[in-house]
Symmetry: C2
Subunit: 408 residues, 2 copies
């Protein structure tokens, strides 16, 4: 893995418009008081695409419309996104509105409707103010300049405090290939696409089916391994659009440079996922749980997810309290196979538990490790070779403050 | 059910010493600063018993010792309990200490060791200060007076704010039969016995195997349907002791008055469970989620549990924000079968969603319903006849405050 990782380079100033062929825009449509709230990504050509959706049984109207678009020829050329209103539990009217959003976007950019995806995020159960959407879509002026990406990144946020974006590049068939993304997250972030939207662009030449397989498997070790509060939402999705303009030969797992592309996409997803977890509602720290020695990778992922999902672990991390008993409690009901007599636990580099026995440690050093911006919790179950990582955030007074009155 | 419920009477001033044959005591052993922290229940005769334990794979030493005691002849005559230290993840020494606690208690009351159960609750990973335990067990002077029960009720508490106790009576074979209980709860309360101890006494004549079956099935609709923060602990158990001194014929499901006993035990467990949920760490309200119209009772229970377990629902209830979208979000990933087009939701008596469509409601009335001490959320899934109830509490600033520095 080391070698492959070295072949992928982080592009600090890259955004969703860095890959060849993409433009973006964001405007204030008046759905929120002042923040930009309507954004679009447009590709110069129909792009191969892949998407994964929330597993909540209540799927919002825009997801249904997007699925229909993609089903036609597995290509997209634009995605239109609003914040403030989720357009979920809005019945027939909601579906009508999502179709209209798609139509208006298609008309504005001269595209067939089925090449347009629609995404929404915000409050459930209230209908979109369509006059604002109608008046504002024509004002979207996509550009391949940084501005366009920043405006889009802003437009998709809800209670997020910071924009989430990333960009990686690699070389395929001698061509530089770029993968970039923008995302929104915050509360309700848990397994399986939870109030989370991520839009990934790449100029790689990669067929839709290959892209879909890669996205699905990468989602399981990135977006699906983050949690803010254990909830899943009705609206979440990750969309990847591949313009193919980098000029490489079509990618597949048989392609000699496949691993480069896969790794660039994986790092893009992981970096976005970590930014989302770090910016969970009220969060002050990123928690990274690394579980090794599990019976399988799957069980290691469960255990890691339970650690970052535990309110008790999250509050202990907030309070910088080295309460490893709560880590034990969390993995003990994760469903992962555990031998209760041989578990090791570390917080940062400080071992707290060895063979399930407390190890004396300096409370001061432990406190320091828990004051870091990234708190790493490591568990070795010593029952196999399975490994997994999950990311979450601490649980703070501000989480309560934000969520006790979201609608008001 | 109505008829049976009427045959069971709540005894407002009853406690664990109300059923014939039971005495209790509690003292300050110095495990905590000033609060009583060591308690005992003693029966005049060896009592039939039943117990259920945490499903966390890390089971504390006292649970192991208690299981061994009960395995001998399914009878108990005393249970000794300490708070402040959980005696979990304490290795060989912890097991040795739990055995010693059992032995000291057996000696103090002249009992064979296998008639003594041991329970502990508190911090994980620190060994019991055995000098204090040794010095204090002889100071326990059980009595059948109210004092004894109150001292016991106090001794088992950790971060609980109030004592939890209840008592019901019914008539079996013409004899008054009493069932009573004391419990402790607070944080880490979730499915399957989580940092929760409950001790139930009854003077019914009921064999251990019959009692065990009843306890198991009642636990699934009472203690296992409450949640404070989704965690399970290493120490939790519910123990029932039946002295048989009421003088009824031995009970079994074939006994004509069986339903009376079962209902008294069920109400005892449900009342203790609700008190535990209501007193969750930092809680200001009890949340009761009632789900009907599910495919099965099991699925209704999952859905109800997901509602009261959702941090987003819990914070919305705290903020008296009628955010029914979060209720939808919670049931949508509960695993229960749902038709997304036909769900009804009420908060209190106010309908918010009908056939999955928002119903206009008065925000003021909704706020009033959410300011009640008990907030009832009702969901009708309209896909079957399954019903289930779960209880939880709101998530508040104080939960964070309490848990950010539990050890310090």
């Amino acid at each position: 893995m080391k070698l492959i990782e070295e072949k992928v380079k982080y592009v600090a100033d890259g955004t969703i418009v860095t890959p060849k062929g993409f433009q973006a825009a964001g405007v204030h449509a008046g759905l929120r008081y002042t923040k930009k709230d309507l954004g679009v990504i447009v590709c110069d050509v129909p792009a191969s695409c892949a998407a994964v959706y929330t597993q909540n049984v209540f799927q919002a109207a825009p997801l249904q419309v997007t699925k229909q678009s993609i089903a036609v020829e597995q290509k997209l050329q634009a995605v239109i996104v609003n914040s403030a209103y989720a357009n979920a539990c809005t019945g027939e009217q909601g579906l009508k509105d999502a179709y209209e959003m798609r139509k208006l976007c298609a008309e504005a950019f001269g595209l067939p409707e089925h090449l347009v995806a629609v995404a929404s995020t915000g409050v459930i159960g209230e209908c979109l103010p369509m006059e604002n959407i109608r008046a504002s879509i024509p004002k979207l002026k996509p550009t391949a300049q940084l501005d366009g990406a920043v405006d889009f990144q802003t437009a998709i946020l809800t209670t997020d405090l910071v924009m989430k974006k990333t960009c990686y590049e690699t070389v395929i068939d001698g061509q530089v290939v770029t993968v970039a993304g923008a995302a929104k997250g915050s509360g309700m972030i848990h397994p399986n696409m939870a109030t989370m939207l991520a839009f990934i662009t790449t100029d790689a030449n990669v067929p839709s089916d290959v892209l879909q397989d890669a996205l699905r498997s990468i989602t399981n070790v990135s977006f699906n391994q983050i949690t803010v509060d254990g909830e899943t939402s009705t609206n979440d999705m990750v969309i990847v659009m591949a313009s193919g303009l980098a000029g490489n030969e079509p990618l597949s797992p048989q392609h000699p440079d496949w691993a480069n592309f896969y790794e660039a996409l994986r790092q893009t997803c992981e970096h976005l996922a970590k930014q989302i977890a770090r910016d969970g509602e009220g969060a002050t720290k990123l928690i990274e749980a690394r579980v090794k020695g599990a019976r399988t990778d799957e069980e290691a992922k469960w255990a890691a997810k339970h650690i970052v999902g535990s309110n008790l672990v999250k509050t202990a991390v907030y309070g910088a309290d080295a309460n490893w008993g709560r880590i034990i409690g969390a993995i003990g009901h994760s469903g992962a196979f555990i031998n209760p007599n041989c578990v090791d636990v570390w917080i940062g580099s400080i071992q707290m538990l060895k063979q399930s026995q407390p190890v004396p440690f300096s409370e001061e050093e432990a406190k320091a490790a828990l004051m870091e911006d990234v708190v790493v919790i490591t568990v070795d179950l010593h029952v196999g070779n399975g490994e997994g990582i999950a990311w979450g955030c601490d649980l703070t007074y501000d989480y309560i403050k934000i969520n006790a009155s979201y609608r008001t």
